[in-house]
Symmetry: C2
Subunit: 207 residues, 2 copies
């Protein structure tokens, strides 16, 4: 009897520890529903490991014919962030960020001409680059939120008057275009996510 | 002693149940990293509740200036799916899907002319509609995967030769454009996700 009691006590204590260690991360649906744009940051840095996790999520997005047209420029240097990104509208959200991720797209791809398997590859336009890179940008926002960080999608292409000086300052080549500029940081605000659920935007079976 | 033993036994059994009920859903990062395109489905239906959960995730994506330009046409009728979507390339992935979600964008928006707060709203182009709708499409793919379903992004805009007959068949108005066509269903395949992590696609501090 004493032995059984000991076994039960050990079992109870093991399970207590086991239960505690099994604390759940928020589900993907929770992360999607609770994500919102964060435009105010504490100024704390973001670790290289966190940035690589975020970029891995970006590169897990789907791309047309597996083209992977995304290219990323990541700036963490405070002075450089200030000089490249902070001169425009709402510049302070960049200066307080831990990093700025510029999501770019390679607008051309090397392909064999259609129906000519023996011909050499040629440079051709990739007409899906901005869709693929937008999917990657959404994954980046979700991954940042999943890590407890904040981020916001700010416009790049096709607002070329904003894009051109940033591309020039970062040495981005001619056929690569910044789609969006994402400051990432430790949130200094905690806004409620917008409720954008509008059943009237769904047409069942037919418009 | 007997009483203590009973208490421990009850405690152990309660905790066993408690631990079991605390089974974790996969984290958002796991869902992003394990999602891959599913093109083969069992033919089983998708419930309205599941579709609404997926569409809620879609509508939780960010949009430029909160424009929410997305519109969704959801087709679940088997005959209609076959007649509208199954005539093209790889048509069988549509006929076996439980639903097809057409993610569309309203390409114009009603806005006051810039700097004229008292003027009436005018119809203006929305130059960010395809980025906003791409972010929604990525959330839709992730939500389907999070629910244990499969889905794949198939091309719409700007491949207009594919888009036009689908828009016509579904009665989609002139200024609304299908960005992508997503069959969703119970997976009949279990492919490994592609490893798309390429550190050479990241440029640190400068291109």
């Amino acid at each position: 009897m004493k032995k059984l009691c000991m076994i039960l006590a050990v079992l109870a204590s093991v399970m207590l520890t086991g239960c505690k260690s099994q604390e759940c991360a928020p589900s993907a649906l929770d992360v999607m529903m609770s994500r919102t744009s964060i435009r105010s940051f504490t100024g704390d840095p973001i670790s290289r490991e966190q940035l690589e996790t975020i970029l891995k999520a970006g590169m897990a997005a789907p791309t047309a014919m597996n083209g992977q047209p995304w290219r990323f420029v990541v700036v963490t240097d405070k002075d450089k962030i200030a000089s490249v990104f902070a001169s425009g509208f709402r510049g302070e959200m960049f200066t307080q960020a831990g990093a700025v991720i510029v999501v770019c797209g390679q607008t051309t791809q090397m392909r064999k001409p259609f129906g000519q398997p023996d011909a050499p590859e040629e440079e051709q336009p990739n007409m899906f680059w901005y869709e693929d890179c937008s999917a990657a940008a959404e994954n980046i926002l979700l991954a940042a939120h999943a890590l407890g960080l904040g981020a916001v999608w700010t416009a790049g292409y096709p607002a070329m008057e904003r894009v051109a000086p940033i591309a020039a300052a970062l040495g981005i080549p001619e056929k690569v275009v910044p789609l969006c500029i994402i400051p990432v940081g430790v949130p200094a605000e905690n806004p409620e996510p917008k409720d954008k659920w509008k059943p009237e935007n769904i047409h069942w079976e037919q418009w």
